[in-house]
């Protein structure tokens, strides 16, 4: 009984950890999701296609972020 309770709790904890990632993925693929609908009326890759095709600064900001974090991590470790 005690082991079952622990298993149940840990299962809930794992769901709690994974849920934000799954929900954010769902949000990124959803549009026209008005209250009080539980499910978006469109679900697909439209948002992703739009971002990749129109956001010109996306790749450059990704590289800038990577460069800054690598630089900070390296300097902080060395110092």
């Amino acid at each position: 009984m005690k082991a079952n309770w622990k298993l149940f709790f840990l299962g809930a904890l794992v769901i709690l950890v994974i849920f934000p990632f799954a929900y954010l993925l769902l949000l990124s693929m959803a549009s026209e999701w008005r209250f009080p609908a539980l499910w978006p009326s469109y679900f697909g890759l439209r948002n992703w296609e739009q971002v990749v095709s129109s956001e010109t600064g996306l790749i450059s900001s990704f590289f800038v972020s990577t460069a800054i974090s690598t630089c900070v991590a390296t300097m902080a470790t060395l110092i």
Partner: protein, 284 residues
């Protein structure tokens, strides 16, 4: 050779870590007294008096302290409970990996996620509607941008608890708390006495400096209270940036006054934390 390398490291630390911070502090101090800035004409204490009389800073300081304190107390308690109850289960590779995952979520994304869940038209509001608990969105309770900072505290807890959990699990292993607990039980202590007199004191004694530093970090958090906070009182960083970024140049100096007071409080707290830690070491 080693001392030469450590000297270079120290110089680098001074140049990169301390000098810019110190220069920014002096600039903010001069700005707060009207000695720098296009709209200022010379030394004055009017900005300090104005901030003191408006009470905005004090309200903001009390509000930030309450939010950061509540978040830290709940997170540390939760992490301690999980460590003491589930330490064996959390050694399973998949579970320990799952516990690391939330640390990868930036504050701004966590705040956005909380907003999507708890807002009046958010996920939980939709579920409440589907179950018939509410009939329109505005009946859903205020959980974000609310006076009790529920959204901010919930987000802080979700970000901070995994960090403390991993910290406590490591300390539990490194300080051999398991062996100490067994020893105390073999000497006649019951389970409760072991937890309160042995395990918890060892875990907290080894981590309280980090807990204090994390409290200071939450005190100055910006993105989460910016997205999930209310209009007034605001958390300190949000208040500072609001004052500094506004179009009215004459009020810029008031922002710097708040920044200076905040820096002094945080630096004093950090110095006190570390000096007490060193004292404990010397006594030990």
């Amino acid at each position: 050779m080693k001392s030469k390398a450590s000297n270079i490291g120290f110089i680098f630390f001074g140049l990169i870590g301390i000098l810019p911070f110190f220069a920014a502090f002096i600039y903010a101090l001069l700005y707060s007294f009207g000695m720098v800035g296009a709209a200022n004409s010379g030394f004055t204490t009017e900005f300090w008096v104005s901030i003191w009389q408006s009470g905005a800073f004090l309200r903001s300081l009390v509000y930030s302290t309450a939010v950061a304190g509540t978040s830290i107390i709940i997170s540390v308690s939760l992490a301690l409970w999980l460590t003491l109850k589930f330490r064996k289960e959390l050694e399973v590779p998949f579970l320990s990996f799952a516990m690391y995952l939330p640390l990868a979520i930036p504050g701004i994304v966590a705040a956005f996620f909380t907003f999507q869940l708890l807002a009046k038209a958010g996920f939980f509001s939709r579920i409440a509607y589907a179950f018939g608990w509410i009939t329109e969105a505005r009946q859903f309770p205020d959980l974000v941008n609310d006076p009790y900072a529920i959204g901010i505290i919930a987000t802080f807890i979700s970000i901070v608890t995994p960090f403390f959990l991993l910290l406590f699990l490591n300390v539990y292993k490194n300080e051999r708390v398991e062996e100490l607990a067994q020893l105390s039980q073999s000497l006649g202590a019951n389970k409760q006495q072991t937890v309160w007199r042995v395990s918890l004191p060892v875990l907290l004694n080894k981590t309280w400096t980090l807990i204090g530093l994390y409290f200071i970090f939450l005190l100055g958090a910006y993105e989460v209270p910016l997205i999930l906070g209310q209009e007034s009182p605001q958390m300190l960083s949000v208040l500072i940036i609001r004052e500094i970024k506004q179009y009215d140049l004459s009020r810029l100096s008031e922002g710097y006054v708040v920044a200076v007071i905040y820096t002094v409080i945080v630096t004093t707290a950090a110095v006190l934390l570390f000096s007490r830690k060193n004292d404990v070491r010397h006594e030990g």
